[in-house]
């Protein structure tokens, strides 16, 4: 339970930051000092920066964000901490020994290590006293060097609790030693026999090797990318839709260009998404380090980098599509039918990649999906985790994704510009096509921006 204080401290720190921010929100929003004023006025990105700034402020301040973030942090803490619970003291077996010797005690330690435990040897004057200590809970196992073992609860042959593992190994070991003695082996011969190891068994098909650290990291990363993308893309979709529904977009577009407004919005939500993802990963690593969990310990750095790169690229690619979709609708029910076709490639990439990284093999499908921008955010980190991709292949996929994102952005901005000011029923893409043609042919006479 040494994890608990750390988790509580982390949550308290998080809560403190939140409260401070909230207080600040309640007070005057005027800049406090000259530095703050200069920072606010030094708006490097122009209107896009202002739009992004508002988006970040409002999102982070929102109740949904607070609740979701707390839940995510709790889930991460649980995933990291729970497997380590119950280890603690019981990883050490307190062994009461009757009639032991230095050699016997050394043997007990060696035995405990062989099953991933450690032993504390407690010499007992006699069996009765040792039994009493076991009843009182001061010992986990009592062993008489003459050949008796006592545990609190019956131990099934397949038992996996620390005490069961220790007792079963101890029992078979002591049984073997008794047999060696009967067979008349010298201690040296007995030691050789006791250290016998089985020979390997070969098979026609290659077996599933143990999952490497890189693969585990990729697995966790693919899940993280999916969770973060799903959450923040939904925000993008709803955010654009709400701006249209509240008609505020008309006021904004009277002074900001559509591309600037859209880019600022996506940038703002994207920054919140990436910061949250980075905070979650850092939190997971910190907690894991503190409690000695093996879930994320020693995460492979290049896989972590690949996950981060593809989280950003995935968001960049999809956010334009979701924003364009949001501009077509102004009610919740209108948006449902739009979200489904968009999320289909997302889910495909996720499921195929998750299967790939779980099986430990890069299937042809994963390799193909790794070059398609809609699925690459999942498939490419998977290939990196599996070690099945070279740096130039990775770079190629990044370039393909960037190129497609630029094209998608242009098309999305166009749809957005035309659709976001049309109110009433949901705008169908079909309806926008003639507009595009007309725009192109009459651009000379148009005040279009």
């Amino acid at each position: 339970m040494k994890a608990l204080p750390i988790v509580i401290a982390a949550l308290a720190a998080f809560a403190a930051v939140r409260t401070r921010r909230r207080r600040r929100g309640r007070g005057s929003s005027r800049p406090r000092g000259a530095v703050a004023a200069r920072l606010r006025d030094a708006n490097l990105l122009g209107d896009t920066g202002l739009v992004a700034g508002r988006e970040i402020r409002e999102r982070v301040r929102g109740r949904v964000f607070r609740v979701v973030t707390i839940i995510l942090f709790l889930v991460v803490a649980a995933v990291v901490v729970i497997p380590t619970l119950g280890n603690g003291s019981s990883e050490t077996q307190r062994v009461g020994v009757v009639g032991g010797s230095a050699a016997f005690d050394a043997g007990l330690h060696e035995l405990a290590t062989s099953v991933g435990l450690s032993a504390v040897v407690v010499p007992a004057p006699d069996w009765k006293a040792a039994r009493a200590a076991l009843v009182a809970g001061r010992l986990d196992v009592v062993v008489d060097a003459a050949g008796r073992i006592l545990v609190p609860k019956p131990v099934p042959p397949t038992g996996t609790s620390p005490t069961a593992r220790f007792a079963l190994t101890l029992a078979s070991n002591m049984g073997a030693h008794r047999a060696f003695a009967r067979a008349g082996l010298t201690p040296a011969q007995a030691a050789i026999v006791a250290r016998a190891r089985p020979v390997g068994v070969e098979s026609l098909h290659p077996g599933r090797k143990a999952r490497s650290t890189a693969e585990t990291t990729a697995l966790v990363g693919v899940i993280l990318i999916f969770v973060v993308l799903t959450q923040y893309l939904t925000w993008t979709l709803m955010g654009v839709m709400e701006e249209k529904a509240s008609r505020v977009v008309e006021v904004l577009l009277a002074t900001v260009r559509p591309l600037q407004l859209l880019a600022g919005k996506l940038l703002g939500i994207g920054v919140v998404a990436i910061l949250q993802a980075v905070a979650l990963v850092a939190f997971a690593l910190l907690v894991a380090e503190a409690v000695g969990s093996s879930v994320v310990q020693g995460a492979s750095p290049e896989v972590v980098a690949a996950i981060l790169v593809w989280l950003i690229l995935g968001y960049a690619f999809y956010s334009w599509l979701y924003a364009a979709a949001g501009s077509l609708a102004e009610r919740q029910d209108q948006v449902q039918s739009l979200a489904l076709p968009l999320s289909a490639p997302l889910i495909l990439g996720y499921v195929v990649s998750l299967t790939g990284v779980s099986s430990g093999n890069a299937s042809l499908l994963v390799k193909v999906l790794a070059y398609l921008p809609p699925t690459a955010p999942f498939a490419m980190p998977t290939l990196v985790g599996l070690g099945a991709v070279t740096w130039w292949q990775f770079l190629l996929s990044v370039l393909v994704s960037l190129g497609c994102t630029a094209l998608v952005a242009l098309a999305a901005a166009r749809v957005y510009r035309t659709a976001v000011l049309r109110t009433g029923s949901r705008v169908r893409l079909r309806e926008l096509l003639p507009t595009f043609g007309r725009e192109a042919s009459s651009s000379a006479a148009s005040t279009s921006r």
Partner: protein, 299 residues
């Protein structure tokens, strides 16, 4: 005095519908200009066109002789017909944000926001969410959002709709004040009596075309002369029924209303009235704007 806003030959078609059909008029600076027309006449499309929110098939919008682009629009303030503010944002923060989008720095935007909220009597709601405000107060906030950056051109789509008399007075005062300080103020409304009180001039459009424009005085005194006459003891206006060139338009409550054609001298009417009895009222009437409007749009 500032520059005039010119709308020149605006044409916009939506499929088979022609929303704007070569619409041309000018909003001089220093005046409140009422923008009138029946529903569907093209008022909102015109206002959107001024802000580049709709494409045009032809025509242009100029300010001070220069075609209006994004740089000019930063100096414009807009209040759309369908009010638009972020419902979840705090009033003051929202207005500051819109001010900054018009190029103000943070400090100036905050000061201007405070000033306008005070001026429009909603300063006590500065830290409330927009959605928690009443309709009238939201309207005031929306106007503050259009004014925060001290615009040279103010375009307001139905700014008085749904307001109580206090709200109408408050917003009306601001519009007149803005015009007096040399700005162009264009606002649309269906409340013609209010327009008559607030505006120096009007532009009336129908089917996307300008049908009448001019100062309110010109329009009120233009057209056929109208007389309102009262003769003591006369109830049915019998004396007025047979004057050549003077058509009886209304009789009621002892008042006789006549429309004179160009040929007749009003003295002839006065003589006829005197002949009928003691004349207690003899007034040339101004046309109400609503009459001008109905005449102009033919319904």
């Amino acid at each position: 005095m500032g520059e005039a806003l010119e709308v020149d030959g605006l044409t916009r078609r939506f499929g088979p519908v022609t929303a704007l059909d070569g619409l041309t008029f000018t909003v001089p600076s220093g005046q409140v200009v009422g923008f009138l027309g029946p529903n569907g006449a093209g008022k909102t499309t015109t206002m959107r066109a001024i802000f580049g929110l709709t494409d045009l098939d032809a025509g242009s919008v100029r300010w001070g002789g220069t075609p209006v682009g994004p740089a000019q629009r930063r100096r414009f303030g807009y209040m759309p017909e369908e009010r638009g503010l972020y419902p979840n944002m705090l009033v003051a923060e929202e207005i500051e944000y819109l001010g900054r989008l018009h190029g103000m720095d943070a400090g100036t935007a905050a000061t201007a926001t405070g000033r306008w909220l005070e001026r429009l009597e909603v300063a006590d709601r500065a830290r409330s969410k927009v959605e928690s405000l009443s309709h009238g107060n939201q309207q005031r906030v929306q106007l503050a959002a259009a004014l925060v950056h001290d615009p040279e051109v103010l375009v307001l789509d139905e700014p008085l709709a749904g307001l109580d008399p206090t709200g109408i007075d408050a917003i009306g005062r601001v519009l007149v004040e803005q015009a007096r300080s040399g700005r162009c103020v264009l606002f649309s409304s269906h409340q013609l009596d209010l327009v008559e009180d607030l505006c120096e001039s009007v532009a009336i459009i129908d089917h996307g075309r300008l049908v009448v424009d001019g100062t309110v005085d010109e329009l009120a005194t233009g057209g056929a002369r109208r007389l309102s006459v009262r003769v003591e003891g006369d109830r049915d206006g019998g004396w007025a029924r047979s004057i050549p060139g003077a058509a009886l338009s209304k009789v009621g409550g002892g008042e006789v209303r006549l429309v004179l054609d160009d040929a007749i001298d009003s003295d002839a009417v006065l003589d006829a009235a005197r002949a009928a009895g003691h004349v207690t009222q003899f007034v040339f009437e101004r046309r109400r704007l609503s009459e001008v409007f109905r005449e102009a749009v033919g319904r």
